[in-house]
Symmetry: C2
Subunit: 110 residues, 2 copies
Amino acid sequence: MGLTKTEMFTDKQNEIALFSKVFGHPARVAILQHLFKIDSCVCGDLVNEIGLAQPTISQHLKELKHLGLIKGNVEGTSVCYCINPENWTKMKDTMLQFLNQDVSNKEDCC
Amino acid sequence: MGLTKTEMFTDKQNEIALFSKVFGHPARVAILQHLFKIDSCVCGDLVNEIGLAQPTISQHLKELKHLGLIKGNVEGTSVCYCINPENWTKMKDTMLQFLNQDVSNKEDCC
DNA sequence: TTAATTCATTGCAATATTACGATTAATATT
DNA sequence: AATATTAATCGTAATATTGCAATGAATTAA
């Protein structure tokens, strides 16, 4: 059907899925990596840095902003984007709980 | 267009996106968490555990298997699924590199 | 052999995502 | 004011994803 049944899962599971979903596109991964690499904030150079059209980048930025992973500040005609460190850390904690599940006793199963 | 332009990104960026994409659905998160929780392997109880139809679960398992995160062993009429610990660890390393980017100098930007 | 069980596959409908041209909104420059 | 610059939004086309009923394949039980 194309409609994810979020109501049958826990809040945590849905949260992990939402964060993962936003990382599920290489353009958004690239945007975030670039924002980390460039210490100072970056505006629409992302359009040049990544090879996608301006509306496409703008759309990806919107999703990242919606999840709180980046902040955007208007500076004249351009907009300065950067990582939101608090929310990045919170996201990381959630994801690490999921990724760090104990793998040690899974060796001889199946 | 709906067609992700993977060729304009690095292998690493695409890899991160692929792993993230598979975690981008709560059913797959729930399946993985259940496989971690149940030390011994689990077969089609996943259909009961999670509330989705058998073909749907089967499809999610297929994607997890395709990325190498789980293994499946036929045992009679049922199939036993479990975490693939080696690949899980490899995936974790890749994801951690991405998640652990330094956030410390992002405080006063924008 | 026949029936039952378990799971994969197929086919399809509904919805979501990706990408971009065209346009709009906001500010800056002249 | 008129123009330029930058980025958001709208509209739309192409493709992907999700979910399940129906079916098929493989094994086991009778």
